[in-house]
Structure formats: structure tokens, C-alpha cells
């Protein structure tokens, strides 16, 4: 049998075998990156509910395939030094044509590799972390869904498809934050994340609509060509709206409040989605749409806004991170801060530096989260760093990996974070010549460097050094979460330590090699590099003095900073502010409108209805009672009236005849 199904089948198998060494070119391979995890999601969700092992195995096998395929795609586009593109019409109605397809270029291929690699390691890690959870298959189904959506996002050849998958990764995030859906905390956090990021997506959608009717295309390649010919005023607005979308997903001020709460999800999810990949989607979005942000086509404003939002966010996140007691909240604010730094890089016109930092950050931040997860699990889901401690002895590998990740993020040479962060600061420095705002941004960037080193060292000292703390009672809400079996209490199981060690490798060396592999043009500026290194060491030193030398009973910063500490701890009271605003504006307005609907709009109608009902009752008494009959009379009356009209009309217009019949 020939025909389309057979053709599709042949292409499917060719594409499936392609990364394993088949020589024939397989144009469908990038599409399979989305299709295979989606199939794994459906299968795991539907038929494998009672066979959790199989669900996990399927997810991991698919992701492993994706990793190989991504690697091969990466090499192919590097070899071609070009782009693999395919685009098909998805919906066409009137003047609107929406396309779907894929585009593989060095930027997207690098993203694919990062997503596949981190996904794979997180999935392997999760087999141990989630072992014994009743929702095990559901968890892996959601993870597969996320992988599919994230690949779809990265591969998007146009802004519309990117928006589609932007929403879908948002759903994956929602499902996984609220994975433990019987606990109220995660459920509320999931909703907050979805609604807050949707506020940004709303902006992105408006940007897409405006851009489409102006440029008549949403294709990135075509837009890059067209951009210089478009109206700069429109493009400025479009760029700002796109940035709103990026700010929602990448947790930029003022839309960052959902990310610390998102830590209510399982820790591997925090590592994968809320540290390494999805939250970086906003940065990726701006980098992908970068031609629309160019000062030559959109004016200086958009990139200045991007840089300012990045600087504010990164400072706000770094300062708030120093005052958190929950290990995951420290890391979450750290992510907020680092995403701000990436945005600052974009704002300084260096998308290369921003993407470079995005990639290194994906590795060391997921490493930090997975390391923290191992510690949390060993402490029976205790996340308060003041009730952890001395864990370096029972879990030395975890401590080692955590230290590598921390030093890398702190920017200590020659680890990865050092290179990528310096690339960003260097870009800002270049802009700072002759631009006062950028000079301020540079100062912020330097301050953030010191603060980053400080809070990471604080975290390490309190969790891994000092005397072990007494274990308190497990908080009741988390009692059902799977913990370590007694026999493995000594150290984390290999399924957890191996991914940690594998992540430590890129966290350590990717910066050095990446500098050569990726087209990072910037050279190291020795003064800048020396300065940031000194700042990082100063931050670590300060943390050692406060927390490392001798473990204090409580945080000395609480007394020293007083109200400022409370301000930082609450994340600048923004959560409270938003909650109140939400209550007054949204709920209050809703309640008012509801009353208005019941009284004003409906009252008018009920008044009329009351009169009719009264006459209805009277009639009923006369007629002896059937509502149906009353209604029948009503209808009959209407038709009688109709007949009368017609009769009347016929007499009025006798000459009109009977039409054509």
C-alpha cells in the first residue's frame, strides 16, 4: 500500500534512525523532537498508569534519543554554517495565515542540546527522588509533556508558534508546580505562576497581533530582513510588548513574584523548569527576536527598558536571596537575579553573552537544585537551612558537586560562570562609555557578583558544614512525600549522584570551551575579570566570617539589618502588595459587578417579569391552570398576530403579487 500513511511511516522510521548513524538525510528529525515526547506523554498518561517503571523508562529513552538527535543537529548546522528550516500552513482564514514548522540554527541547536541534556539528567535523578510516590507515572508523563513543549518552543520558526509553545510550557510548569495537588500550597503556587506569566503572555500576544498586521509575517528570518523597512514607532511598541512576554516567563521585575512560590513543586522540577530551561525562555525569546530590538530599527528605548528591567531584577533577586532561610527560595531568588543579568546582557546589545550565560547557568543552577534536592530528601523534606547542617560528611559527592556549582555561579575563575558573567559585564562596560544608565547598570552588575558569592557561600556553609542539626518533626503537609529508605540514609543513591557529577563537568569547564565553541566575540578584559574575581572572593569571605567560621545559632544579619532584613526577606513586600491589589481590584470589582448584575440589570428585567407573572397567575385562575397551556396560548397569540400582519400586508400590497411563484 502506498499513499500518504506509508510515506509518513517511512519518514518516521528514517527520522527515528537518523541520529543513530543512518546516512540518509531525515528532514522529519526535528519534528520528531516534539512528536516523540508528546507520544510518551500520551502513552504514559493513558495506558501505563499501573506500570510506573515503564512510564519512566519510556520518558528517559525518548529524551536520550532527543539528546543524540540534538547533538547531531548541532553538528550539522555548524558544519553547514546555516539554518535548517521548514514551515507549513497551520491555519489560514482570510488574510491570516499561521504557520508551523521548525528552524534549526546555531542558537536553537545549542538550546536543544541544553534542554535535552538537562532533561535527561533530571529524569534519571527523578527516578530516585520520586521513587514510591503514588503519582510516579503522572510525573513522568508531565515531564515528557514539558520536553515536547520546550523543544517546540526552541524550534519555532516564527513568533506565533513560539507563543503557542510558550503557553504550553506554561501549562507544564503549572502541572508540575501543582504536582502534589492534594496540598493547598503547591496548588495555589501553580495558579499564581500561570496567571502571572499569562499577564506577560497577554503582552506578547498583543505584540504578535500588532506585528502581524504591520509586517504580514511572523517568520523570524523574514522579519530580520524586513525590520529595517518597518515603521520604527510600531516596532518600538512591538519590542516592548514582546519583552512583556519575556518578563513574565523569565521572572523579570515586576512579574517575578511567581518564581519563588513555584518552588512548591518537586525539586527536580525546580531544577529543570524553574532554573535551567523554561524560565530562560523569555531570554531566548528576546534573543530570537533580537533584530526587532536593534536600536537602528526600533530606537534605543526597547533595549534600554530590557537592560533596566534586568538590572533591577538582578539586584532585587540577589539582595532578597541573602535573607531567605528556605534553601529552595535562596536558589529561586538567585535564579531571578541571574535571569536579570541575562536580560541586562541583552539590553547591552550582546545576545551572545546573554545566551552564553543562559547555557552555563542551565548547568550550574540545575546542579545546585539537584544537590539541594539530595540534601532536602535526606533531611526528610526539611528545607530550612537552619535545621540542616554537616551534610558534607554523609554525602561527600553531593557536597562536592554543590561546591562546584556554587563556585561556578559565584564567578570564580576558571569555572563556567566566570566566563559567561564576565561576557555580560563586559558588554555593559562597552555600552557604559558615553551612556550614564549603563554605568549604573555596571555598578549593579558588580554588586550582584559580590552578593551572589555571599549567599551561595552562606548556603553551602549552613547546609554542608558545621554540626548536624537535630531533625524536627516533618511538616505535616509533606508527610506523604517519599523519603529515603533507611538503608540509603548514608548517602544519596547513584541515580541521584551520577547526574550531579555529570552536571558538575559542564558547570566547571563549559565556560572555558564554550568561549571557543560559541561565537563569543568578547575578549576577557583583565581589569574587569580581576575585579569580579576579587568581589566574588570577598563575598565568600564575608559569608565565611558570618556563617562558616563558627555556626551562629541564628542569622546575625537579622539583628544587624533590622527592618531592611525583613524587607529583603519578604521580597520587598511585593507579594503582599500584589495580593492586596488583587483582592481590591480584581475580587472587589468582581463582587461589585456581581451585585450590579443581580440588582441593576436583573432587577429591571424582574420588574417586567413580575408584571407578566402576575397576569399569568390571573390567567391561570381563569383557565384552570396549566403553565404549558398558558404558554401555548402565548405562542398561538404570536402566530395569530403574525397571520393578522400578513393578511393586513397582503391587502396593503396587492399589486406586489406572489413573487416569482
Amino acid at each position: 500500500m502506498g499513499g500518504i500513511p506509508a510515506q509518513l511511516g517511512r519518514e518516521f522510521w528514517q527520522a527515528l534512525a537518523w541520529p543513530l548513524g543512518a546516512a540518509a538525510p531525515a528532514p522529519a528529525a526535528p519534528a520528531l523532537l516534539v512528536v516523540l515526547p508528546a507520544l510518551a506523554f500520551v502513552l504514559a498518561g493513558l495506558s501505563l498508569r499501573r506500570r510506573p517503571g515503564l512510564a519512566a523508562g519510556l520518558a528517559i529513552a525518548v529524551t536520550a534519543w532527543s539528546l543524540v538527535a540534538s547533538a547531531r543537529l548541532f553538528l550539522t548546522v555548524r558544519l553547514l554554517n546555516g539554518e535548517l528550516v521548514a514551515s507549513y500552513t497551520w491555519v489560514a482564514a482570510g488574510g491570516v495565515r499561521l504557520e508551523a514548522g521548525f528552524a534549526v540554527n546555531p542558537l536553537t541547536a545549542a538550546m536543544l542540546l541544553v534542554v535535552a541534556a538537562v532533561s535527561l539528567l533530571v529524569q534519571v535523578y527523578s527516578t530516585a527522588y520520586l521513587a514510591g510516590d503514588p503519582g510516579y507515572s503522572r510525573y513522568f508523563a508531565y515531564l515528557s509533556f514539558f520536553t515536547a513543549a520546550m523543544f517546540g518552543l526552541v524550534l519555532s520558526p516564527n513568533l506565533f508558534q513560539l507563543y503557542v509553545f510558550y503557553e504550553l510550557v506554561g501549562l507544564a510548569s503549572f502541572l508540575l508546580i501543582g504536582f502534589w495537588h492534594e496540598e493547598p500550597g503547591p496548588v495555589a503556587a501553580a495558579r499564581k505562576a500561570f496567571v502571572t506569566t499569562r499577564l506577560g503572555d497577554f503582552g506578547l500576544l498583543l505584540g504578535i497581533l500588532l506585528l502581524y498586521w504591520h509586517a504580514r509575517t511572523l517568520d523570524f528570518t523574514r522579519l530580520a530582513w524586513l525590520a529595517p523597512e518597518l515603521d520604527p514607532a510600531v516596532l518600538r511598541l512591538v519590542a516592548l510588548l514582546i519583552f512583556a512576554g519575556a518578563a513574565g516567563k523569565s521572572a523579570q521585575f515586576p512579574l517575578h513574584v511567581w518564581l519563588p512560590d513555584a518552588m512548591a513543586g518537586p525539586t527536580p522540577v525546580s531544577a529543570l523548569i524553574h532554573a535551567a530551561t523554561m524560565v530562560a525562555a523569555g531570554v531566548f525569546l528576546v534573543a530570537r527576536a533580537f533584530p526587532l530590538f536593534a536600536p537602528a530599527v526600533a530606537g534605543r528605548l526597547p533595549l534600554l527598558v530590557v537592560a533596566a528591567a534586568g538590572a533591577v531584577t538582578s539586584f532585587l533577586g540577589a539582595t532578597a536571596a541573602t535573607a531567605q532561610d528556605d534553601v529552595k527560595r535562596v536558589l529561586a531568588y538567585s535564579t531571578v537575579s541571574q535571569l536579570g543579568l541575562m536580560m541586562l546582557g541583552l539590553g547591552a546589545q550582546s545576545s551572545t553573552a546573554a545566551v552564553f550565560h543562559l547555557i552555563t547557568h542551565a548547568f550550574f543552577k540545575s546542579l545546585l537544585f539537584l544537590g539541594a534536592g539530595a540534601a532536602i530528601r535526606r533531611c526528610h523534606h526539611e528545607q530550612d537551612i537552619w535545621r540542616m547542617g554537616g551534610l558534607a560528611r554523609p554525602m561527600p559527592l553531593t557536597a562536592l558537586a554543590f561546591a562546584v556549582g556554587g563556585l561556578s555561579l559565584a564567578g570564580v575563575p576558571p569555572l563556567s560562570g566566570f566566563y559567561s558573567k564576565d561576557a555580560i559585564l563586559l558588554a555593559v562596560l562597552e555600552q557604559a562609555r558615553g551612556s550614564r544608565p549603563h554605568a549604573a547598570f555596571l555598578t549593579v552588575g558588580l554588586a550582584v557578583s559580590a552578593l551572589t558569592a555571599f549567599y551561595l557561600a552562606r548556603l553551602f556553609f549552613l547546609i554542608f558544614t558545621g554540626a548536624p542539626q537535630e531533625e524536627g518533626p516533618v511538616s505535616p503537609g509533606r508527610a506523604h512525600r517519599p523519603g529515603p529508605a533507611p538503608r540509603e540514609a548514608a548517602a544519596a543513591p547513584p541515580a541521584m549522584t551520577v547526574p550531579l557529577l555529570l552536571l558538575a563537568v559542564p558547570a566547571a569547564v563549559l565556560g572555558y570551551f564554550g568561549q571557543r565553541l560559541l561565537p563569543v566575540k568578547e575578549h576577557l578584559n583583565q581589569t574587569l575579570a580581576g575585579g569580579t574575581t576579587a568581589l566574588a572572593l570577598a563575598g565568600i569571605g564575608a559569608a565565611w566570617l558570618l556563617y562558616g567560621r563558627r555556626r551562629p545559632a541564628r542569622d546575625p544579619l537579622v539583628a544587624a539589618l533590622g527592618p531592611v532584613h525583613r524587607l529583603l526577606r519578604s521580597g520587598y513586600y511585593l507579594d503582599d502588595l500584589y495580593t492586596r491589589l488583587g483582592n481590591y481590584l480584581v475580587r472587589g470589582l468582581a463582587a461589585t459587578l456581581h451585585r450590579f448584575d443581580r440588582t441593576a440589570v436583573d432587577g429591571l428585567v424582574n420588574g417586567v417579569a413580575g408584571v407578566v407573572l402576575l397576569s399569568g397567575r390571573t390567567l391561570r385562575r381563569v383557565q384552570g391552570g396549566w403553565v404549558q397551556r398558558y404558554l401555548l396560548y402565548l405562542v398561538a397569540a404570536v402566530f395569530l398576530a403574525l397571520a393578522a400582519w400578513l393578511w393586513h400586508g397582503l391587502e396593503l400590497y396587492p399589486a406586489g403579487g406572489m413573487g416569482r411563484w
Binding site: 482564514a93 488574510g95 509553545f165 495537588h181 500576544l205 498583543l206 498586521w213 456581581h594 417579569a609
Partner: protein
């Protein structure tokens, strides 16, 4: 073919009248077979329709009341077919959702089938008198179905609904009669009438009658309050048909009659219509946020979602109109799903008060998952058909009314907020002791649920077949209106 599809439910209803009321399985089987037959015919028609040819196909013309120039004239174009398919789907699912109906079930199914014949008839009539007759045939059984089998203030809701709709009907009848005499042809043949070009001054006077008469049914703000009350009071299958299909009669009428006959007047009125339906969208979403009864949440969400339909229509663009019809289809399927599930929850938990529910996902995982997917459709998640519909409406509306479109699109945030809150409060959270015995959806329920779910996902992933079908119906209309692509 069209005739067979329209009258299959009526034939089944007559057959049911002959069956004794205690043959309960037989009653259900007859109802299911008739609705299944209608569904099969609707699907067949969608495939048989020649999209390249376009226009009204499958025409049957019989003399009905020659003295008035009224015909039995039925046929279908792309818009009719989308609506017919929707009706058949919701009816089929609705029969299965009413499988366990206890009280006076024979009469219930008879009325349900009569109502659906009316609905089918409206969508395929190309004669104005026939159109109105079918229209009344759809509205009247609704009164009985709610007043007899309903819940919460059922008499009040039934009266309110019927009065509103009859008030609308009076306007329609007046409007149609005025059209009848103003053509000078004395015919109700819509194909002939729509070939005329009405004088703009006349259009401006006639348009409000026909538009308002239909807009009440959409329901357009501020004539919407009958609909949440009606939804809440109606029994499950009736809620499904009511929100899923009946409200579409209004929007269909606006497109088919008001817009087709009076394009110039419609264009003049469209800014006001766009403004009112933006109120619909935002107002409905906000009021839904304040509701405590699960059915009222869905009811007000319908008010909000139907606002998108009117917004698409008012945009006067091909994309917007196609989106509007797609939204009618997709909203119908989605609401059908919602009400089927709310009915199931109510049957198991004996309450619809959101605050009293919670943690039901443990006892009914399948129902919870299905509800969650319907909720995601409601908030316009990509991959589900509502997204396609809303996006097309947004594209169209943004082109013509950017400011209003921005307000309308802003509702996606509010919608996400109330729909997630509702879903989470009902199904998530700690499982409650008293609902431990609640049963999940069973095989009979699953037939309808999975059918609707499949449509929602299927057209969400691959919308073009339906979009193309609808476009063939929309395109001539846009040309006629001189609208934008």
C-alpha cells in the same frame, strides 16, 4: 439528506411516544440511535460538501405555503455545516449524559429530541418563515424541560428564559415581516431575498429588529441575565444543549440574516456592537469570578465567551468571522463537556457549591482530568480548539478595533484566574472524607465525554479542515459586506 438528518430526532420522538414508559432501556436506545444517525449524517454532509464550489449545497425546495410564498427550503453552507455538526455532537453526548435520568424520562427524551429538530432546522433553513418556525420549535420545549426537570428556582428561570426569548422572537417576527413586505417579492425564500441589495436607509431601520432579536439569544449584554439562571436551573442534557447549541442560534441568526441582508447597516452599527460585546467578555469573566455555584461559573463564562463570537462578527474581517463561527463550534463542545461533568459532580456530591467541594480528583480522576482539559480549553490554551477560535477573533478584531480588542484580549488573564481557581477548588486540595464514596465517570458517561474531548483536541491540533469549511461560508459574506480579509 439534510431533511433526514433534521427529522431523525423528530421521528425518534414520535416513536418514543408509542413506547410504554417502563421500557426504559428501549427509550434510551431509540434516542441514542436517532442522535447517532443525525451525527453520522452531519459528519457525512461535512465530507460531502464541495469546498471548492462553496455556497449553499444539498438544496431541497418544496412548496410549503404557496399563498405566502413560503417554502420548505433547506440546504447547507460552510457555516450551517459547522453548526449542524456541533448540534449533532452535543445531542449525542447529551443523550448519554441523561442515561441515568429517573423522573418522567420518556417525556424528557421526547422533548429533547423535538428541541433538537428545531435547532437542526434553524441551521439548514433557507426560508425565513421556515426558519422562524424551527426557531420557535427549539425555544418552546426548553421552557418545559427546565420547568419540569430543572433545579434551583426552576420556574423562575424557565419563565425568565422564555420571556426573554419570546421578546426576542417578537422582534424577529416583526423584522421578518417588514423584510417580507419591503422586498416587493412577497416571498420568504431567503436565497431570493438575499440576492437583493436593500436601500441603506431601509437597512438602518430594519437592522435593529433582527439584530436585537437574535442578540438576546447570544446573549449580548445587557440582555444576558436569563442565560446563567437558565443554565443553572436546567437539567444536565438541557444545560448542554442550551449553552452548547441554543445560544448559537442567536449568533447564527445574526450572521445568516441580519448581516447578510443588511451589511451597510451592520457596518454602521458595528462599533457599538463591538463595544457591547467587549463588555460581555470582561463583565462575564469578572462576574464569573464572584460566583459560588459551579453552574453559575460556567454560565457567566459562557456570557464571556459568546462575547468573543460577537466581537469576531463585529470585526467584519474574514479572519474574525471565521473565528466567530469556530468559537461557536468550539464553545458549544466545551460547554457541553463542562455541563456533562458538572452534572456528574452534582449527582455524586449532591452539591454544586464550590466552597463545599474539594479534593474530588482522588475519587474521580477521569472526571477531574476531563474537567481540567475543558477548563484549559476555556482559558484558551493552545492545542485545544478554543485557542484557534479566539486567536482568529483576536486577529480580526485587532485589525478593525485595536483598542476594544486589547480590552477583550485582557480577559484571557481574568479567565485563567477564575477557571483555574474553580477547577482547583473543586478537584484539588485535600480529599474530603464525605466524598470518598463518590464514583468516577463510568462507561456510559465516557461515550459522550470522550467524543467531545476528542473533538476539542482534534480540531485544536489540526483546525484547518473545519476552518476551511467555515471559510467557504464566510468568504461570500465578507465580499458582500466589503469587509477586510
Amino acid at each position: 439528506m439534510v431533511t433526514a438528518m433534521v427529522f431523525a430526532p423528530l421521528a425518534a420522538a414520535s416513536l418514543l411516544l408509542l413506547l410504554p414508559a417502563n421500557r426504559r432501556l428501549a427509550i434510551r436506545v431509540v434516542a441514542a440511535l436517532a442522535s447517532g444517525l443525525s451525527l453520522a449524517l452531519a459528519v457525512y454532509l461535512c465530507f460531502a460538501y464541495d469546498q471548492r464550489l462553496g455556497g449553499v449545497q444539498f438544496l431541497t425546495r418544496l412548496r410549503w405555503i404557496p399563498v405566502l410564498g413560503a417554502f420548505y427550503l433547506v440546504g447547507a453552507d460552510g457555516i450551517s455545516l459547522a453548526m449542524v455538526l456541533l448540534t449533532a455532537l452535543v445531542l449525542f453526548a447529551g443523550v448519554f449524559a441523561s442515561w441515568r435520568m429517573e423522573e418522567r424520562d420518556k417525556e424528557f427524551f421526547v422533548l429533547l429530541l423535538v428541541l433538537v429538530t428545531g435547532v437542526f432546522g434553524v441551521f439548514v433553513s433557507f426560508d425565513l418563515l421556515l426558519f422562524l418556525s424551527f426557531y420557535e420549535l427549539a425555544v418552546i420545549p426548553m421552557y418545559l424541560l427546565i420547568a419540569v426537570w430543572g433545579s434551583t428556582r426552576k420556574e423562575y428561570a424557565a419563565y425568565k428564559l422564555t420571556l426573554y426569548l419570546l421578546a426576542g422572537s417578537v422582534l424577529l417576527i416583526l423584522g421578518v415581516i417588514l423584510v417580507y413586505f419591503s422586498t416587493g417579492m412577497l416571498t420568504f425564500d431567503f436565497l431570493a431575498i438575499s440576492g437583493l441589495r436593500f436601500d441603506p436607509a431601509l437597512q438602518r431601520r430594519l437592522f435593529p429588529f433582527l439584530f436585537l432579536g437574535f442578540a438576546v439569544l447570544v446573549p449580548m449584554w445587557p440582555f444576558h441575565t436569563w442565560s446563567p439562571d437558565g443554565h443553572a436551573a436546567a437539567p444536565t442534557a438541557v444545560s448542554m444543549l442550551h449553552a452548547g447549541v441554543l445560544m448559537k442560534l442567536g449568533a447564527y441568526g445574526v450572521i445568516r440574516v441580519a448581516l447578510t441582508l443588511f451589511p451597510t447597516a451592520a457596518r454602521a452599527w458595528s462599533p457599538l456592537i463591538a463595544a457591547l460585546c467587549t463588555v460581555n467578555i470582561l463583565y462575564g469573566a469578572y462576574v464569573a469570578l464572584a460566583q459560588k455555584d459551579l453552574k453559575y461559573v460556567i454560565g457567566y463564562s459562557s456570557v464571556s465567551h459568546m462575547g468573543y463570537v460577537l466581537l469576531g462578527i463585529a470585526s467584519f474581517t474574514a479572519a474574525g468571522l471565521t473565528g466567530a463561527v469556530f468559537q461557536m463550534f468550539s464553545h458549544g463542545v466545551m460547554t457541553g463537556l463542562f455541563f456533562a461533568l458538572v452534572g456528574h459532580v452534582y449527582a455524586q456530591a449532591h452539591t454544586r457549591e464550590i466552597a463545599a467541594l474539594g479534593g474530588l480528583a482522588k475519587a474521580m480522576p477521569v472526571a477531574a482530568t476531563t474537567f481540567a482539559i475543558a477548563a484549559l480549553a476555556s482559558l484558551g490554551l493552545p492545542g485545544l480548539s478554543s485557542f484557534v477560535a479566539e486567536v482568529l477573533v483576536f486577529f480580526g478584531a485587532f485589525r478593525r478595533f485595536p483598542a476594544l480588542a486589547v480590552l477583550g484580549i485582557a480577559a484571557i488573564v481574568v479567565t485563567a484566574s477564575y477557571i483555574l481557581r474553580t477547577t482547583q477548588q473543586v478537584f484539588f486540595g485535600p480529599p474530603q472524607e464525605r466524598y470518598a464514596g463518590a464514583k468516577d465517570a463510568r462507561t456510559v458517561d465516557l461515550v459522550g465525554l470522550f467524543l467531545l474531548l476528542g473533538v476539542l483536541v482534534g480540531f485544536g491540533l489540526l483546525p484547518q479542515p473545519l476552518v476551511g469549511l467555515i471559510s467557504t461560508g464566510v468568504q461570500p459574506l465578507v465580499t458582500r459586506m466589503g469587509g477586510m480579509p
